[in-house]
Amino acid sequence: MKDLLKVLQTWEAVIGLEVHTELTTLNTKMFCSCPVEFGAEPNTLICPVCLGLPGALPVPNKAAIESIILAGIATNCDIEQQTMFYRKNYFYPDISSNFQITQGPVAFCMRGWLDLNITEPAASEREYREGTTELPASYASSGYTTRINITRIHMEEDAGKLVHIGGTDGRITGADYSLVDYNRCSTPLIELVTEPDLRTPEEARLFLQSLRQIWLTLGISDCSMEEGSLRCDGNVSLRKRGAKELGTKTELKNMNSFKNLHDGLAYEICRQADVLESGGRVVQETRHWEPASKHTVSMRLKETADDYRYFPEPNLAPYDLSDEFVAEVRSRLPELPDEQRARFMEVYALSFIDASALASDRDVASFFDEGMAFAAAQAQELAKPFTNLLLNDVLASLNTSGHVLAETKLTPAHLVELAQLIAKDTLSSKQGKEVFAHMLKTGEAPAQIVEKEGMQQVSDTAALEQIALEILKEFPDKAAEYRSGKTGLLGFFVGKAMAATKGQGNPKLINETFIRLLDGE
């Protein structure tokens, strides 16, 4: 099979996503007061309503409606104040009433968009950039911006979970029997559908990542792809570059990580290209991504569309949301990742890469903001060293320990102090790392550590010159060699000086001193 970049030179991939998000941060389910929880004993979080028992009636969760309105506002959607719930009828054991309460033609949120900034190397997947804009020079990275339109976001309830016993890998094929766990049944779910505006697997991945960051910022879900609270299906078809007509699409499922989303789509694009280039035709079907063997397999043919017999849910009155209600929800909108990144670039003159990295994690971003608040008047000056500490040392330590920021003993105030000590040359960067290691371990303030460990950097020029002169006196032949052109010996002298200061000499100053003493006369 050809590789993706090659395929994309001949073919244009047309990709749309359907993203399901469980509103896991809500206390209760969509239409009853059962708790929303992951990992409880099977069939313990159930009641007559979510079990669909005869006579039980749904009562909508107001907080869920608020969440979807917030999600719509954050993704630039029009909020439809007059909308209603529909029933989607189909028989399957995981849906207790054999219909799912969802929405019809008019969802709470319609016609939104997100702008994606794709930087190299990810940008290289899209060699042909019709309809995109080059990134501004200020972004310090080449790439492009493209707008992805959102068709709609609608509210619905999740289904339960089937557990297949006796087969391989928990799959239904070959299983002896299946059990149903209704704990998840009627968990509030929002489904976002994009227009087929994505052109590369990287764009798809970035879209989903951006969306996840937005949802996390809004606090509407824990967005765990592993636990299934964020799920993404992809629709993909190919057409020859320049062609207008859409090709036959396949629907791709089981892409339960960002990497799987990218790799699944990439595989499917290449597979379709293979089929088309060998004279075949793509069959409209649902395919399952198998991450272990890195290929997609057909789940079922979709020759005819399923008839879900949609009709308005007669147990729930249509909505007519008031302007006040929508305005109240709008007033709760926090600063979104894109706005945050722009602010970091503008206020602190950070690079696009640094600002994006900070804004990509809610905890990191608020740690940064708290740090800048402590830095106060020095914020402009300390932003860059503080960001370096945060994005390099702090994140590296988190990667190693597997902790999240809140679980460490670090505080924004202490990290600002450390950045300050380094910026003022009180500590060398090497000493800085040692102090940082102490901070992680003890949670003590940098100044306290420096004092206790006697780690002040020696930046006293006179003292350093005295030491340098003594060393030159000790090694006159080396000094002569240096002067005759063997300038590589500078490192030798600096090393001696560092040893003499027990590692606390300011290396920059020592360097300068030796150069001055050796070259000067």
Partner: protein, 527 residues
Amino acid sequence: MSYSNLSIAAIRAGLATRQFSAEELVQDALNTINIRDKVIHAFIELCPELAYRAAEKLDAALSAGEAPPLLAGATIGYKDNMNLEGTHTTCASKMLENYKSPFTATCVTKTLEAGALPLGKLNMDEFAFGSSTETSYFGCTHNPWDLERVPGGSSGGSAAAVAAGMVTVALGSDTGGSIRQPASFCGVVGFKPTYGVISRYGVVGFGSSLDQAGVFGRSVANVAETIDAMSGKDPLDCMSQDAHAVYSSSVGAGVKGMRIGIVRSYVDADGISPEIHNALEDAISKLESLGAVITEVELPNAKAALSAYHVIGPCEAFSNLSRFDGIRYGYLSPNARNLDELYEQSRAQGFGAEARRRIMLGSYLLSSGIYEQYYLPAQKVRTLITQDYHQVFEQVDALLTPTTARTAFKFGEIADPVSMYLSDIFTIPINIAGNGGMSLPVGLGEESGLPVSVQVIGPQFKDENIFRVAAALEACYPDIARIAPDTSGTQQASQAGGSAQDSQVGGSGQSSPQGESAQASPEGGAA
């Protein structure tokens, strides 16, 4: 001594003055049921333990000096689509033959909290699909006035139980006339409030946008007090609302100055029986003589109600009944080899013919391409009909119409489903519009000897108007019998009577100790 002819108010007073205990009321009612239900077959299930437990609790409270609550000591039966923990909820279907609900319907709970004594669950058409109670999986219920005739339906068991004096009141549900039509056939008061007055939580849904629970009683006052106990916003049914009315206080308020509308084309409709036509004319003149202003009004779109109903009803029913698949509860076919067979066989074997017919109809009507041709136009028609009623109720305070075109028919007399559907032509438009309506008995037909009734309809959430008109009319007919005579000893039951001719006949059936048929006044002091 029998208490079966006592009004709720009289029972309350009797309990308060310790003339009898709640326990005695239960004993008496079970005794009456034991005698009469052998041939009528109104009950699917009796719950004497629950009844005695409720009586014990009530007696204890009264002994402790508490005042009797609103429905204290009223014996009550529930249509078998209403959940009552501790009993089955079968919906008269094989599908739910063994189903016990883990929770109790709000309307049932409210009657129990008000001191009613639960006697059991009442027969009905399967899943409320029918107008005769002939589609019940558990056999027919017989009309207490003529055992060869149907009690009407779908709440036939509820109507018959009240007409036979086996309970003080009974609850039913009404999707297209399922309270008012059987009330009319059995000669009792049957009331369906405005959609939303009574919570539907725990009442098994048929057509969710049409279903409304209501009450059967032998007097307007009994019905009013029961509704007072049950009505109000329920957080578990978001379509329910507070009507902010005390219906029993409207009983006896009179009709002087009230504007009452009649639809001439209804009163003079082709196919309306002369008995019913005459009863309506008589009721009109009586109301006029009481000071009401009679106004002729038009409901131009009402004729389309039947068509809209037979689209919307099956669509909602199809979806509501999807949950019955045998997987979690209910009938499970033993022979299925895979999931599709499990669905197909369990549902084919668990549902009766009429249920299958409506499910298939709804399934067809909602399929893509068809939905646009039927469901959407039906909803538009519904809007027009609702507007008709809104306009009419700008001109009048209540409407007086027939409940049914004719009196109770015989078993098997209407075999064609479409003719059966037509028997609800005067009741269905009210469900389509969402208003309240009451069937009120005005006597026995001179020729047929069967109960003849009229229907009073009110503006939405102004059901107190209905009570005013109905109570005034009721007072005009003081001599009508409230309890059908016990014929269990003299007349052979055509179907359910097999075991009825045993010792019971000599024991008490013959003597008919209560002599209800001779009872000469509407029940109780409240009327």
